[in-house]
Symmetry: C2
Subunit: 203 residues, 2 copies
């Protein structure tokens, strides 16, 4: 499919470089942008330019922020003795929306994945060990996805911080709330049986 304008084609190429966007979808999006008024398209471009210039990463936890230190780290009512380690900013947002956690975060910016060429050096792990040393938290919660990469990263972090006097925990694995046991995969079901917990009416 040949696009009759090189400038349109460049936009299609750029949009198709986004995750999950194929060339056909990219073309649809590009044509939608082309139909917009000058003001609308300028707003679109302006938002992207601000992304480049103004969005910062919190110096303490790596979360996205408009200031040097993010709102969560800056909030004195949060429990600074708890650090929850997550892969991505979206995980912070997901955990925040549960309204069950009042500690701080540490955003790694990815998981160790030798297959994709991502080693510990590419991640925000050095900062984590520094934080553990300087801030002396009581507990570090590993909240990484229960995948091969998540397990590898959990293990790497565990080795790095196990010498410090703190609790290292990880989020529980098991059957998702609201799902049916018969559809759970064997590994998850097996784990959730092995790691069974005392029945507690309060929970």
């Amino acid at each position: 499919m040949q696009i009759p304008s090189q400038y349109l084609e460049q936009v299609v190429d750029q949009l198709a470089s986004l995750p999950g966007i194929g060339r056909r979808t990219a073309l649809r999006l590009a044509l939608d942008l082309l139909k917009r008024s000058e003001v609308e398209l300028s707003d679109f471009i302006g938002a992207l330019t601000a992304l480049q210039d103004k969005v910062l990463h919190c110096r303490r936890c790596g979360n996205i922020a408009d200031t040097q230190i993010c709102q969560i780290c800056n909030n004195s009512r949060r429990d600074s003795s708890l650090i929850c380690v997550v892969e991505d900013i979206r995980d912070v947002m997901a955990i925040e929306s549960t309204n069950t956690y009042n500690g701080l975060y540490h955003v790694l910016g990815g998981l160790i994945s030798p297959m994709d060429g991502v080693g510990p050096q590419q991640l925000n792990i050095v900062n984590l060990t520094e934080r553990v040393q300087n801030e002396a938290p009581k507990e570090v919660i590993l909240a990484l996805s229960p995948t091969m990469e998540g397990d590898t990263t959990n293990f790497y972090i565990y080795k790095k911080i196990k010498e410090y006097p703190l609790l290292i925990t990880r989020i529980s694995r098991g059957i998702a709330v609201g799902s049916e046991i018969q559809y759970a995969d064997e590994l998850t079901l097996g784990r959730s049986l092995q790691q069974r917990q005392l029945f507690d009416l309060a929970q």
Copy 2:
């Protein structure tokens, strides 16, 4: 889900305004853009800026072009006695990739749809009647999607140009009723161009 940066949120809002992109997907795309280097993001923004400044619509047929007159209209080896009326630029691209059509096009930029507030005035139809008058083509092929809106537009155009001495045809209904031209496979689309039929109100 609260986004911890207003600038990031603005990008998410803008991306979510694109067709078929929800807020969750928009966030994924925005975070992908945020991870990019300054040069990569500048290229992305540059492509969009060029879209605004440099992409033109052909003065003759309404197709997208980098010049005042598009490559197809400018090509002297194409049969200028044939005008194929299409809804959208993507339909031009789809028909071109069948390699079965050597005439010119006329891009309407939409279909008559009173439900969506699109009347003949919003479309490139006046230009079509002017072209028919000035260029005196032998044949106008109506290649609009076989939908309610397509049929309405076919009928409107038919009434506008039926007084001129030319053949009015439409692509054959090999294409499933209710589906859209841009998604038809090339063989079906090519056949339906070759087997175009005389426009007949009774059909």
